[in-house]
């Protein structure tokens, strides 16, 4: 199985054991995807991690955009902005960087 900074990841690059997550892994994942993590990225990643800790699931896209609007300003509370941060999607790429499981379903 593939590894990132010593932590096992599955075939889609998601952490196998969510407890393995640390900032170093997150930065490396972003680097592998050619994404440079800015303060805004970390704002989203922190929210994803907090939400997951409370609910054991990633937030709905609408919940995420509203939270980001509150945190970073109304102009940023939309999925276009989030896609500009995470080109492969805030749900999938964002969750992977944040050490969350991949959201799957009819989405």
């Amino acid at each position: 199985m593939a590894q990132i900074c010593g932590a096992e990841v599955d075939e889609e690059g998601f952490l196998v054991d969510l407890k393995d997550w640390n900032k170093e892994i997150c930065i490396q994942m972003a680097k592998d995807d050619d994404v440079e993590l800015t303060e805004e990225h970390w704002g989203v990643i922190d929210f994803l991690r907090d939400y997951f800790e409370e609910y054991q699931i990633a937030p709905a896209v609408r919940v995420l955009t509203k939270a980001i609007a509150k945190k970073m300003g109304k102009d940023k509370g939309n999925s276009k902005y989030l896609y500009s941060l995470f080109p492969y999607g805030p749900g999938k790429q964002g969750c992977r960087f944040a050490g969350l499981p991949k959201p799957t379903g009819c989405i």
Binding site: E12, Y55, V61, R62, K66, S79
Partner: protein
Amino acid sequence: MAAKEFDIPKLPTYIEIPELNPGVMDGDGPFKSVEEFQKPLGFPGEKIDNWQEVAIAKMGELKSKYRSVQVFLDSCVKCGACTDKCHYFLGSSDPKNMPVARQDLFRSVYRRHFTFAGKYFPKLVGAKELDDNMLDDWYNYFHQCSQCRRCSVFCPYGIDTAEISMAAREILDTVGVGQKYCNQILGKALTVGNNLGLPEPALRDTLLDLEEEVEEDFGAPVKYPLDQKGAEILLITPSADFFAEPHIDGLIGYGKVFYQDGVSWTMSSYASEGANFGMFIGSYDIMRKAALRIRKAALDLEVSRVMVGECGHAWRVAYSFWNTLSGVGAGAQSSDEYAMKLQKQLDDRYPQPQHIIEYTYDLIQRGKLEFDKSENDDRTVTFHDSCNVARATNMGGVEGGQFILPREVIKAVCNNYVDMERSTIKESTFCCGGGGGLLTDDLMEIRVKGAMPRMQALKEVEKNEGVNTLAAICAICKSQFSKVLPKFDFDPYMIVSVHQLVSAAIILDKPQTDAEEPAIEAEETAETE
């Protein structure tokens, strides 16, 4: 993770049979399921040692259990009518994606083991052994079929490749070769209650958030109730409606229609999923387990009506199978106590189950809803018939109702509507490319290629009629289009729910007493800011 590179198909002016490229879609297929996801469903964790023996025995069982499968295997005369009808063949040019060739992967093994000629003169009748290569081909090419049934419309014998594809997947699971995407999702649906694994607290808070948002935006106290015992209607909708864009705007629309009708309704945290992936993997038992959660919720919540949201194969399972699976509608066995109980509980003055489109359409017909159609004047809309709704169900109890009702609902709320080319809609609709358990990133190549025929028809109405909005009533279609539209130079946000269009135009009664409060609140916020 960089995805595999592949060429995006060009969109021609009209669809032609492509020049064949044998083996172009050869490969390992989607990610395989592992023990963690296989075991809870009762499948072996990995490919078992005596897999050939078990697979052939299973094939024998299936052909006897589902007589349609045997008829389909026996009756093909290789006339070729289906060859150019599959969107995956048209988009990929791999001859194994011709429906007849896909069926023949299964049929050749059936012939070898279950027909006289195939047993004694295999070469003469194209009978083949189920060896490792054949099994790999099954796994790869039966996961390049979205079970959309378009080919069956054109087959003079009515052979349904979807059923063969379901049988093949069931055999694959039986020998321990399952698909990760479907089986992981089924595990969540059967334990948490929905495909996403959205637990009750997250669902509850998401819905409360939504209520706040809708009241803020539209000034009416529209509710999105969860687990409300004694409500009249239980709404079963795909969990994508809670989670994804643009789906959630459709959910907002359902709520507004219920609000305006004044009916009491609820969703269930125990059965918070319409999409039943048991059908995709061909397992009647697992499909039943998922359906029984809905029965339990309906009984516990004491509802008198069960309604289905915008989800293609949810409606197929509900319309075609719920009666015998769970007792919704007629047809429960008298020995099935709870199915009988549910049948007595449900109000037979209404269709059981009923589709949300049937419900909204009926209210429109009876003049119970008012719309400001100009709210959608920035849109020129076309409708994508979702495969499972189009070719496996009905609406409204009239012939072709599943085509008529959604279009009539759209036309009641929009001034500008046009259809795509006739051979690509209604019973001949092209699949979105992501149905049947293919909506996973590891199948992106076939999803994009398979979307080509739908995208081609869309491009024509965009060019000629100025279409800028594509409406659908299926969660998979909506998600698939959001992903593939930009690959063909469309705006990914042009895909909407039909009830999003309803939501934009519907005029809501606003309570007199509350009318001033939001304004005062708004002033206060403005001051504090």
